[in-house]
Amino acid sequence: MGLGAYIAVSAALFALGVVAIVVRRNILYVLFGIEMILNAANINFVAFNRFNGDGLDGRMFAIFVIILAAAEAAVALAIVLNVYHLFNTTKPAEVDLLRE
């Protein structure tokens, strides 16, 4: 299985993530979308590191990204929770006090 396949997968994942962020009604799915993007990046890192390049840069990076993702998820969820309390909705489309 060559590098191309990995890239294809990650690209698909990335695209899915973006789409999810844009179209899904529920905020949680939006957050999932973000996670998907991060993981798409991860796949790239690992794959590239595996196929070309010596050293562990890519894998290290992937690990860090996982940590980042966790931290970000934590913060994000806290915020979303707070929003839910104040707006009684999980639909980002309905959270639009701040606009022109």
Partner: protein, 728 residues
């Protein structure tokens, strides 16, 4: 006393001529109100001094002229040119524009001085005398005016302007004084516009504006004219201008631009001397107090225009002179006809002035002897017209500011002195022999004949027909005035009862001027008594039988634009025959006119009403001054006002609101917030404002507040960027 000409001392004297009244003016304007009698004595006294100086200098001039020139001459240049003095040549000058560095010596500077020649001498004397008498007269006439001291200040500054104009040796300063005169005429004609007691307050307000603006048109022409001459000859000085033009013309002949420039110069005369079609201001100038009218009509304003022609005669090309002749002759006959229909006593005089000015201008246009005759008529006319006006003023004063002749009549008994003076001057203006007017007018007619005899051309022909006719009409309406005012039964008893002779200052000045009205022309007799040759005037300016001497007037410049000269008429035969004819014709037409007036208005053989009825439309046309005023009102004034209104609209709506349209559209789209409407309504501001505002509003549509839409926009943008980077 020593009557030889000493340039240094004499130029200082001459300088005093305008300066005395000027100082008087300054004193008067600031302290006049505090002086006893509001300071009229101050200015009148000053004017008396001025008059004395001018007369003294005039005597010198006479002496100089009779002693054949050269006496006063310090270098043979002056000796050669006979009686002619320019202070710059005797080192008496003033660097005006620049005084330090290189500039003073450059052509760009203006080093000015005095010019005192025959023409100047005569004019100066006339102005001095007349304006003194006018001052004197005013002391009586203006009593009780609420701005008495201001009036005196202004009228003396008016005189200053004229004196300066006569003395200036370059056209720029002539122009400057010319303009000042315009200002003063504005103030003086408008004198009553500030007097709530005057019932014609609004007329005065209009009249003064009209006078200034109309003459201003002429002034601008004059400015352009001498600008064009400067462009080619780089000098403003009369003497240099004459010399260079004639040298140039002698070499290359007259060029077309000479004519153009000459016409522009003549435009100045047309404006100031109230020639057709710019004459419209002069009748309205009646709104000023009578002494002012006297000044304007006799000594200052209108004389200035003729004087200018005299000064610039050598630079006018024959074509221009033709135009001058036609204009003058036309004006003469045209104004005369109107004069017959006017009932305002001052109005008659006003139109007579215009017509007489026509005579002068036409004569100058004829050139040669005509030039002299025209200028001479200016002198004689100054005397009798001043007298006529003052008499009219005296009548009006006597009749408590009643000006309508139809209300007068039979005043002969009530105010004998006035009557006498007025009669004398009427005889003079009608050109009755032995009165001053005759001599000049007769020479004018002669001049027209002469030029016709020399060269049969349209202008000369028109002049030869129009001028005698005008002379006849003049005689007619002047005597109409006399008969209606002084003879017959009083028409308005009320006016008649209260009529009274005027106080001494007025009568004295009347008599003084009347005297000159008789003898202003008779002075010709001295020299060699009864000898037909060499009147004082001819001595002063030329010898009519030898046109080459015309150059004496212009510092020995050989004139290029006038006909004849000794060669063409060696023994003066043409001149002689023309003289005989002129004598006959002018005496005849004068008699004719007077007789007709006597028939109609004294003997009442013919009822004027019938004639007017017979004439019908023609009469009304004439009576309405040929509708010139209305015409101007419509064409010039209305059009410019309309233009102004339009341009204002244009400015406020098009220029300032260049893209107001965009604003409108946007507003209808409802994109503009209220404050914006309020703050930026038009102009570039509006353009920028509405445009950017509209775009702003469009952009606001992006900011929906929905995070996911934001993200989709962002992604789209990112893709665009990527695409760009890939494609580049």
């Amino acid at each position: 006393m020593d009557l030889t000409f000493h340039p240094e001392s004499d130029f200082k004297l001459l300088l005093a001529v305008p300066l005395i009244p000027l100082c008087g003016y300054l004193l008067q304007i600031f302290f006049g109100r505090f002086l006893p009698r509001k300071g009229d004595w101050l200015l009148t006294g000053g004017m008396f001094a001025t008059m004395c100086i001018t007369l003294y200098m005039f005597a010198k001039a006479m002496n100089h002229a009779y002693s054949g020139g050269g006496h006063g001459g310090h270098d043979e240049h002056e000796a050669l040119i006979g009686f002619f003095h320019e202070s710059r040549h005797t080192g008496f000058k003033w660097s005006w524009l620049f005084q330090t560095g290189e500039a003073p010596d450059s052509v760009r500077n203006l080093t000015i001085g005095l010019l005192y020649d025959g023409l100047g001498a005569a004019m100066l004397a006339v102005v001095g005398v007349v304006s003194f008498f006018v001052h004197l007269f005013s002391m009586g006439y203006m009593q009780g005016d609420r701005r008495y001291h201001i009036f005196f200040a202004n009228i003396s500054l008016f005189t200053v302007a004229m004196l300066g104009l006569v003395l200036s040796d370059n056209i720029v300063f002539l122009f400057i004084f010319w303009e000042i005169m315009g200002l003063m005429s504005y103030l003086l004609i408008g004198h009553l516009a500030q007097d709530p007691t005057s019932h014609r307050i609004n007329h005065a307000a209009r009249a003064c504006k009209k006078a200034f603006l109309t003459t201003r048109v002429g002034d601008v022409c004059l400015f352009i004219g001498f600008m064009m001459f400067f462009l080619h000859y780089e000098t403003f000085f009369f003497s240099e201008l004459w010399a260079q033009v004639n040298a140039d013309v002698a070499l290359n002949g007259w060029q077309s631009w000479h004519t153009t420039a000459g016409l522009f110069l003549f435009g100045g005369t047309v404006g100031k001397s109230a020639q057709f079609p710019l004459h419209i201001w002069l009748p309205d100038a009646m709104e000023g107090p009578t002494p002012v009218s006297a000044m304007i009509h006799a000594a200052t304003m209108v004389a200035a225009g003729v004087f200018l022609l005299g000064r610039l005669y050598p630079v006018l090309s024959p074509e221009v002179l033709g135009v001058v002749t036609v204009t003058g002759a036309t004006t003469a006959i045209f104004a005369a006809t109107i004069g017959m229909t006017v009932f305002d006593i001052k109005g008659v005089l006003a139109y007579s002035t215009i017509s007489q000015l026509g005579f002068m201008v036409a004569a100058i246009g004829c050139g040669g002897v005509g030039l002299v005759a025209g200028l001479w008529h200016m002198v004689t006319h100054a005397f009798f017209k001043a007298c006529l006006f003052l008499s009219a003023g005296s009548v009006i004063h006597g009749c408590h500011h009643e000006q309508d002749m139809r209300k007068m009549g039979g005043l002969r008994k009530k105010m004998p002195i006035t009557f006498a003076c007025m009669l004398i001057c009427t005889l003079a203006i009608s050109g009755v022999p032995l009165f001053s007017g005759f001599y000049s007018k007769d020479k004018i007619v002669m001049a027209s004949f002469l030029s016709l005899g020399h060269e049969f051309n349209g202008p000369a022909l028109w002049a030869s027909i129009a001028l005698p006719a005008a002379a006849a009409i003049t005689a007619f309406y002047m005597f109409r005035l006399i008969f209606m005012t002084f003879f017959g039964a009083p028409r308005d008893s009320h006016v008649h009862e209260h009529a009274h002779e005027s106080p001494w200052p007025m009568t004295v000045s009347l008599m003084g001027l009347a005297f000159l009205g008789i003898f202003g022309g008779h002075l010709w007799l001295n020299g060699d008594l009864l000898g037909a040759h060499g009147t004082w005037w001819e001595k002063l300016v030329m010898n009519e039988h030898n046109l080459a001497d015309l150059s004496k007037m212009y510092g020995g410049v050989e004139l290029q634009n006038t006909y004849g000269g000794a060669a063409m008429d060696p023994h003066g035969h043409v001149a002689h025959s023309a003289h005989i004819w002129a004598l006959g014709v002018s005496s005849f037409v004068a008699a004719l006119g007077i007789f007709a007036a006597w028939l109609i208005y004294h003997k009442k053989k013919i009822d004027p009403a019938r004639i007017t009825a017979r004439l019908g439309g023609l009469y009304t046309t004439v009576a309405n001054k040929y509708y010139i005023d209305e015409f101007v009102e419509i064409t010039v004034i209305k059009s410019s006002v309309v233009t102004a209104r339009f341009l204002r609209w244009f400015d406020e709506n098009i220029i300032d609101g260049c893209v107001l349209l965009v604003g409108r559209i946007n507003r209808t789209l409802g994109f503009i917030a209220a404050w914006f409407d309020k703050t930026f309504v038009d102009g570039l501001v509006n353009f920028l404002g509405t445009l950017s505002n509209a775009m702003g509003s469009a952009l606001r549509l992006l900011q929906t507040g929905r995070i996911q839409q934001y993200i989709s926009f962002a992604v789209a943008g990112g893709l665009l960027a990527a695409a760009w980077l890939i494609l580049s």
